[in-house]
């Protein structure tokens, strides 16, 4: 099996949210609450247990002449966010039940029949993707349409995308395609275009890459995401010091005070 991936191109996204709808309908994802956020046309706001695709509306003042922007009007970058399916996934490492597994497609999948809702994956995700669904009790996130991929089909969001902004395919090919697209955009004058894929951090690259314009932080994409497992050596060293102090401290305290004077009451 080849490792598959997503390449989500914000320069082609028109903010129609067909991906959000397609994901919800195919995967039977329940209502994620309805509110007017007041933040551009984004009323989904964040990925979560019941929002597996989320179109960000990054609204800002344009740089005149950069990619055909006219002065005096706000401009949007739309970017359809999704679980990153990390090379080293924090949620997968943290899961104590073995519910979260890596599939034959290289994606990270939560087995709903195993998850017992301990909530540890929630604090282990450096992208804030996975969450526990309150009324259900289990953790949910994008499945990378594991069922569809099993049947040789592309994920629902990619199929529903009308502009080719969400590309699905072989991960290595998509990476090359993304790099070519960045060069193409640079040649067209959009010199702020870049491919977001943190390969130089402990996350070890992501299987859902994003082609964005401007600073990645405007999209809440962390510049240096780290998988929390990297903290384990330091954490267990501290635990060892604490345990050793407990052993030495209690043995020493009782040795110093001798066996006497321990009358009760």
């Amino acid at each position: 099996m080849t490792t598959t991936g997503f390449l989500t191109d914000s320069t082609l996204c028109i903010g129609c949210k067909a991906c959000e709808v397609a994901c919800k309908e195919w995967n039977d994802v329940p209502d994620d609450g309805f509110l007017w956020s007041g933040l551009s046309y984004d009323n989904t706001l964040t990925l979560g247990a019941s929002s597996w695709r989320h179109v960000k509306f990054v609204e800002h003042q344009p740089r005149t002449g950069c990619g055909g922007n006219a002065p005096g009007h706000s401009t949007w970058q739309f970017s359809s966010d999704v679980c990153k399916h990390c090379g080293n996934a924090g949620c997968l490492e943290a899961c104590p039940t073995g519910s979260i597994v890596r599939t034959e497609f290289g994606s990270v999948y939560v087995q709903p029949d195993v998850c017992n809702g301990c909530g540890y994956c929630v604090v282990a995700c450096p992208f804030g993707v996975i969450d526990r669904r309150p009324d259900d009790g289990r953790a949910f996130k994008c499945t990378f349409c594991y069922d569809r991929q099993k049947a040789g089909m592309e994920p629902a969001c990619a199929k529903a995308c009308p502009t080719g902004s969400i590309l699905f395919g072989d991960l290595d090919k998509l990476q090359r395609r993304g790099e070519e697209r960045v060069e193409q955009l640079h040649a067209a004058g959009m010199d702020d275009a870049s491919l977001y894929n943190p390969t130089d951090t402990s996350v070890g690259g992501i299987h859902a890459m994003f082609l964005i314009r401007g600073d990645s932080r405007a999209y809440n994409l962390p510049p240096k995401p780290e998988v929390p497992t990297t903290l384990l050596p330091r954490a267990w060293t501290a635990a060892g010091i604490g345990a050793a102090a407990m052993v030495i401290g209690s043995l020493a305290a009782f040795a110093m005070c001798g066996s006497g004077r321990s009358a009760k009451r």
């Binding site: 551009s40 964040t46 960000k56 990054v58 609204e59 943290a94 899961c95 104590p96 039940t97 073995g98 195993v114 998850c115 017992n116 809702g117 909530g119 604090v123 995700c125 450096p126 992208f127 804030g128 526990r132 669904r133 259900d136 009790g137 289990r138 953790a139 401007g214 600073d215 932080r217 405007a218 999209y219 809440n220 962390p222 510049p223 995401p225 929390p228 903290l231 384990l232 330091r234 954490a235 501290a238 635990a239 010091i241 604490g242 345990a243 102090a245 407990m246 052993v247 401290g249 209690s250 043995l251 305290a253 040795a255 110093m256 005070c257 066996s259 004077r261 321990s262 009760k264 009451r265």
Partner: protein, 315 residues
């Protein structure tokens, strides 16, 4: 600007003349809304998800920690040849703690009926998995210790070796119980926990020792090792308080917990060394401090997760 009658007339004239008014209105509460960008992230919205844990988890951290330290104290007391009632009570506190801990952990699960899935695999890389197995071992061993102890006292069966071996195992897993919860919080993506990863397991160990020795003191045991242990733990807490303050944590609950765990019991124990009432007050302060410490750390994690600045590298 205070609106006058002239100002209102002027607004009307401008509206009649141009069809619109150029001046800004009153700014909405919280305005200006943050724009997406390198300084605010995506509209200042949280990047991380806050922990979903409710009160059961910090309460478990407290109970499990005190129980774990109690199992260690039981062994130390026994090795030193201390009064056997102290050994027995320490073992009982450990076993009782395990009995309380298990339902606390299970009831916090989203699917409590699937709690046995915790023992489906053993994953050393998951502190939650290590913790579940530690609690399973601790519960079994503390239970065996107390059971063998009781049987031996009532039936004269030769079970001393069994209760001592189980007690030693209970102490070993008890060390895990008192410290792994710091690993559980520290090795996560939550900034305030991850920043204190070197300190949290030791902090929780000290907190556990303080609460276990305080509990035994409140049970009426007057062995001098108990206040000595509690004072040592309180002294560490004074140091930990400084470290936490240096890392920029401003939680009021954490400050209160620090005061109750560190300076207050330490002062009471040093100044009121001969006063029974002072010792009792110190023990109560340590227990309250230890309990609030765990709640404050979990709460601090929830607050920390809402701030996108650290994961975005903005501070």
């Amino acid at each position: 600007m205070k609106a006058t009658e002239e100002r209102l007339d002027e607004l009307r004239r401008q509206a009649e003349r141009t069809g619109r008014v150029d001046a800004k209105g009153i700014r909405a509460a919280g305005a200006p809304l943050p724009e997406p960008g390198a300084e605010h992230g995506y509209y200042g919205l949280p990047l991380l998800k806050p922990p979903v844990w409710t009160w059961e988890i910090p309460l478990y951290f407290f109970v499990g920690g005190a129980a774990g330290a109690s199992a260690m104290i039981a062994v130390a007391a026994q090795v030193s040849g201390a009064d056997e009632t102290l050994v027995r009570d320490a073992r009982r506190i450990a076993a009782l703690g395990a009995v309380i801990s298990t339902p606390l952990l299970i009831s916090d699960l989203g699917r409590p009926e699937r709690f046995l899935n915790m023992l489906r695999v053993f994953k050393p890389r998951s502190p939650m998995s290590v913790g579940a197995w530690t609690l399973a071992a601790f519960g079994t061993l503390t239970g065996a210790t107390v059971l063998a102890d009781e049987l031996q006292r009532r039936t004269d069966l030769p079970l001393t070796f069994v209760s001592n071996a189980a007690g030693a195992g209970a102490a070993l897993s008890g060390l895990g119980m008192a410290t792994y919860t710091g690993v559980l919080l520290g090795a996560t993506a939550i900034p305030v926990w991850a920043e204190n990863v070197n300190m949290l397991p030791i902090h929780f160990a000290a907190s556990a020792v303080a609460s276990a020795s305080s509990l035994l003191e409140l049970c009426g045991h007057q062995h001098r090792a108990l206040p000595l242990l509690a004072s040592g733990a309180a002294a560490y807490e004074v140091y930990a308080t400084r470290e936490v303050a240096r890392s920029g944590v401003t939680s009021t609950a954490l400050k209160a917990a620090s005061l109750l765990s560190g300076p207050i019991p330490l002062a009471l124990r040093l100044l009121g060394i001969r006063s029974k009432r002072a010792r009792r007050a110190a023990a109560l302060a340590s227990l309250a401090g230890s309990l609030i410490t765990r709640f404050a750390w979990v709460e601090a994690g929830k607050v920390s997760a809402r701030d996108p600045r650290v994961p975005l590298g903005l501070m």
